[in-house]
Symmetry: C2
């Protein structure tokens, strides 16, 4: 026996080594940063998914609640605006709002002054679920950064902000479509 390599996801170090092996001329420093970013996000996404599942909602639904609350009083936005903030198509927004209205998380009404427009607002239950989700996320995030000193956290945040600024300049548009994240 001891012949089958036992299937498993390669570690970050193994992956970087594999890159060096299969393609010369790749900067390992760059590759480490990029691969770590991707893996981190995947893990974060999974963690958030488990938490929102506890609330009986999906990750994407929580994102809608977040966008509405962070928009500030009176906590109302149109589907189109929401779609832009979440990086979704208007069609997806329509369906998602359908579900959330049915679940009692948000309300949908037509604008009185402009009947083409629709206004989405948060219900009490929606706001409560957002808050509970935020609390759970905070616990996870604090734990994630636990090993870093306050100074290191500052440095990390500053560097990531610089990276973000650079991509945002290169991609001036809203950033294209994508499920949830953020």
């Amino acid at each position: 026996m001891a012949d089958t390599p036992e299937p498993a996801e390669p570690s970050l170090d193994e992956q970087i080594a594999a890159y060096q092996r299969e393609f010369q001329g790749l900067d390992p420093q760059v590759e480490r940063v990029v691969s770590a970013l991707s893996r981190l996000n995947r893990r974060m996404h999974v963690a958030y998914g488990r938490q929102t599942a506890e609330l009986g909602i999906s990750n994407g639904e929580w994102e809608v609640l977040k966008a509405l609350v962070l928009a500030g009083a009176p906590y109302r936005l149109g589907p189109g605006d929401l779609a832009k903030r979440l990086g979704l198509t208007p069609a997806a927004m329509t369906h998602r709002i359908d579900r959330m209205v049915a679940e009692g998380l948000v309300t949908r009404e037509r604008d009185e002054n402009n009947r083409v427009r629709v206004i989405v607002g948060v219900t009490e239950e929606g706001r409560a679920k957002w808050l509970e989700g935020l609390r759970m996320a905070t616990v996870f995030e604090e734990d994630l950064l636990q090993d870093l000193s306050s100074e290191e956290r500052g440095q990390l945040g500053a560097m990531l902000t610089r990276l973000l600024r650079r991509v945002e300049e290169a991609q001036p548009d809203a950033g294209g479509r994508l499920n949830d994240l953020d």
Copy 2:
């Protein structure tokens, strides 16, 4: 006029300010790191999507090619192993392989010694597309990190690796399902 707030995605700073406004007791340092991570990943995902689209394949298909190549010679893996590495369900892997076989990117054959097993291999075209995609990704990634000195890149990579280690210890399993990323 000058009454409608003109829909737009809030900037990172605006979002952090909104968090402080709507929920006291949140650490802005933590929030900055986490939000920047999510936004960065979304932008990266969009960028990769555009690049793979140029190759006439999807992001997910490129991930399969990458996994096969990084597995090392003889560049063959079973669907189950692939699914684990990509964080997909076996069912999704079956369909994705179907498409990729039809497009001539990979081959699917039954294992001679064990006819339950299936072996997926890369074709010449598949390997070429992986390489071309890698070249494009490298350009993007170098540009992304351009503003950081080599020392800063090292620090960033080291800190991200520490974060990743922490989540991976907390989530020992393969990390759950999720589209592509990584």
